[in-house]
Symmetry: C2
């Protein structure tokens, strides 16, 4: 069984493209949010109940929309809808917009995939570097297919999560795949300020991404995407800063 989810919502073109590829590999179940959930990160719904509804979203594919977050979708799929079935693979996306570098922590798409990987389910999040709902997913689909095939053929070992980002260029311009680490960078100039119709000030999140990586350093996803490679970052959920750990040992004697 292949579980498909996303964060842009069940009607987004990106999940349609992903379902079209995923169904080539076996039985597919779609459980996706009933509304856009971009930027939801690893949010879960604790203070209210969740609803799921069977919908006719993709011809011949069992599909549910869910009132919760992307992570809720995966939890419901695993614990309720597929309680007694093995999920061979979870794929999330194709996200409209990059989830490279630090974006992985804000991304509902990647958090859904990560949630599956926490449950030991091999899992891949796919993102195309084009925010538009009119984005062309044809080149992306070629690489989604190749990567799913390779992961099913070779199995995924101890690392159960891939963060795959695809440059928004024609297929002929994609130079291949780069397996690399998460690039370092952050967002700056983050708010648009304005006044609402009642005269109250508001702040609306915006900003631009700034890379901290040297342009010559090839071993990260920022470089890969800038140079028209598909970036693949094997990812995890152990947030321990191992290199920094010894420098805090002094806290044991406070």
């Amino acid at each position: 069984m292949i579980l498909v989810t996303n964060d842009d919502g069940i009607v987004a073109p990106g999940i349609k493209a992903l379902v079209e590829v995923a169904r080539e590999f076996g039985e597919v179940l779609v459980v996706a949010p009933d509304s856009p959930q971009s930027g939801q990160g690893h949010a879960i719904t604790l203070t209210k109940p969740l609803k799921i509804r069977k919908v006719d979203a993709f011809v011949g594919i069992t599909s549910y929309e869910c009132s919760g977050t992307p992570v809720d979708c995966v939890k419901l799929a695993k614990n309720v809808l597929l309680k007694n079935q093995t999920i061979d693979l979870c794929v999330s996306g194709i996200n409209h917009g990059s989830n490279a570098a630090i974006n992985i922590i804000y991304s509902g798409t990647m958090s859904a995939a990560m949630e599956a990987s926490v449950e030991n389910i091999p899992s891949i999040g796919f993102s195309l570097l084009d925010f538009s709902f009119e984005a062309d997913f044809e080149a992306a689909k070629v690489y989604v297919r190749k990567i799913i095939q390779a992961c099913l053929d070779n199995k995924m070992g101890a690392c159960k999560l891939l963060n795959v980002n695809i440059p928004a260029v024609p297929l002929s311009e994609i130079r291949g795949v780069k397996v690399c680490r998460q690039g370092d960078g952050t967002w700056v100039e983050e708010f648009q300020e304005g006044t609402d119709p009642r005269g109250e000030k508001y702040y609306w999140l915006t900003g631009k991404f700034v890379s901290y990586e040297s342009p010559e350093n090839e071993e990260n996803d920022i470089w890969a995407l800038k140079n028209n490679f598909v970036s693949v970052v094997p990812s995890g959920h152990d947030l321990t800063h191992y290199a920094g750990l010894p420098s805090f040992k002094h806290l044991e004697s406070i």
Copy 2:
């Protein structure tokens, strides 16, 4: 300047306890959610504007409540309220309930602290292992004070984020501090099913945490807390699974 935030909301007893300690170390600004935001993870608000409102929440402390998530609070503090000021330290919490082990990825408290650390601000998330609003924070405050003092005295180096969890026992029973890695485990039996007043089925997130760690292995926060130590996990935001990276290099030839 010390920035204080949380995910339980600005009226939670835990943030009151944290403010009481933080103010001993210098000027404090509080920016916290105007409603409970537990389980919001690293969610950010993209699709609507944010509001902030100055409130008289703590005597003599400038405080704002924010309509967004814990991460939104930190972004607004840094980019709007403290635009031209250095934030020496961000402290988040004291959370009502554990954020040890895998809980760090679901936690709004820890995500707020992580957001500050992404911005290179030394940052500490504090949690007490007691969900109750009647929780006793007195013992916790002793360790919050010691840890803030030690971090200000020694500076934090390359690692800018600590995940601190405190057992819910009297001070005399706390055996000290353990600096360790994030324990491995997951949540099981996750939904309570029911029928709502309109006859529709609902699913409400619940569950219990299961540790994957051997009870003898002392080098993780699950062990530390079970054995009445305060756990300190130096943490980061690079999710690359470095050990797994080589095993996916074959994807470069697809």
